[in-house]
Symmetry: C2
Subunit: 298 residues, 2 copies
């Protein structure tokens, strides 16, 4: 079985293309790793890089990129609109195929340890890798930003998981953690009454008492004169697309409104789609290893 | 995008494991090709090998295996229950991912030409690669079997597509052709009345006026006290699984019977499953390149 994880590191440089090319090159040169995308944001002064590959190789590429970032980016001079605390600000690791969340957490700890020990950078583990509940949320970890980190690292609650208590002034602090892939999933409704989309969004999202791993908003799509339930599915293995879709359809019917279509924005793990097919066809004992392409990746 | 074809050659040897290992080794050693399965049948005295990979490499592996088969199998001495005409009896090429049927046909012609010219074996193109309508069906091509081939090759209608008109007595004749992948798909019905499964099977299969690319039978599953519509979906791109499933469900309801589940037997192309998800979720403009794993195979 092909083991794949995704990595989406954020670097605190969005203006100097030369620096970014050198960082990205560290990812490009690693075999069994595919660079999917990188986009520089000038105002945020930040670059988001997306790559996938064999887990060990992804860790290697992430470490190498982080090392080069620590050499080429000086946080002492960094300004940008987006909150940040380090040259390599955050490294999320996302299990995609035949990797468990436990394994992804383990990988994130190994990566964090190397960054701490070999690069002398303070590292916080966050999300599923967090060592305490107050480190799960990246916003909490990053609160105070680079400028506040010198003091924060010395607080009792904020001893870093790896690396020095003393701030590395050039490289700052890096968050490393495992999380599930996000699936951006929207459902379009055949009405222009946005209150219906808002009501449905409220009833299906976790914060409204709905599905635990679903974030949802109701919005207007003015150019099509329709409304949409726009969602982030934050764990499709536990809150699957088909279940949310079916509930939206039922709820919409109560208002006499039809679902007219859906959208999947950006990338989606194969398993999220195959699970949908499996559900609607009511396949007994389907095993994802029956997918021919998975055999090719073995 | 990862280009993948599948190849399922049948060799006329099912008893001598040493010979089969030598043939299969020719496939194993080719990079970017994955041997998925091979199974020897003693009574049929025949071995079916399944492998997938990058198209050029699959052709190379198939040619090499065919060459070794022509050296190690002597058709003059072959006996077996299964109809056969050559040491390498038939080589189906099946487009799986990002390969069109036209490309698969082109590949089959190149493979057939090499077998004809370099190995001096008469080759018939069949199925989608057939040069005339009476060569589409393998049973027609193979009629007369090995013993009848010397005369058949000299008939006006049966001049081989490649290779000699004179029979290669050791290697016999080989059929090469492109076809769509088969998906073995069964739908289980909550009744023990097999006539309902038989009626539904008749109404959905091509021969009964149903879907063009669906073969279906109604059978009993005695150990579960249910019945089943058992199908071969011979072109899931034109007769998709979801459409057949929906019609079976509707037809069953007319008898007051529920669909209690389905089964996918063996391997299935990812696209066949993703198309199902796409249909039920009514995804607008879904592109298979949004699947993360496809990016990995690029």
């Amino acid at each position: 079985m092909a083991r794949i994880i995704q990595c989406v590191p954020n670097f605190s440089e969005g203006q100097n293309k030369e620096i970014i090319e050198k960082i990205v090159e560290e990812i490009r040169v690693v075999e069994e790793v595919k660079l999917l995308d990188y986009s520089m944001d000038k105002d945020h002064n930040r670059t988001v890089v997306t790559f996938i590959g064999e887990p060990e190789k992804v860790i290697e590429a992430a470490f190498n990129a982080c090392k080069v970032a620590s050499e080429l980016i000086d946080m002492k001079n960094h300004k940008g609109e987006h909150p940040r605390m380090g040259a390599t600000d955050v490294i999320p690791l996302i299990p995609i195929s035949d990797v468990t969340m436990e394994e992804a957490v383990e990988l994130s700890k190994r990566l964090g340890k190397r960054i701490g020990e070999e690069l002398n950078i303070s590292v916080f583990l966050y999300e599923k890798s967090a060592s305490s509940i107050d480190r799960e949320n990246l916003a909490d970890v990053r609160r105070g930003q680079y400028e506040g980190m010198e003091a924060k690292l010395k607080e009792d609650n904020w001893t870093p998981d790896f690396g020095p208590v003393e701030l590395n002034r050039e490289a700052g602090v890096t968050a490393v953690g495992a999380r599930m892939p996000l699936v951006a999933f929207n459902v379009n409704l055949g009405t222009n009454d946005v209150s219906i989309a808002k009501n449905i969004a409220k009833s299906i999202r976790s914060s409204g008492g709905g599905f635990k791993y679903c974030k949802a908003l109701g919005i207007e799509i003015k150019e099509r004169n329709i409304v949409q339930v726009t969602m982030n599915m934050v764990d499709y293995t536990k809150t699957p697309l088909f279940r949310v879709f079916d509930v939206i359809e039922r709820e919409a019917k109560r208002y006499g409104v039809n679902v007219i279509g859906s959208e999947i924005i950006g990338l989606v793990p194969m398993a999220a789609m195959v699970d949908v097919a499996d559900y609607y066809l009511r396949v007994e004992n389907f095993d994802h290893s029956q997918i021919l392409e998975k055999r090719m990746m073995e």
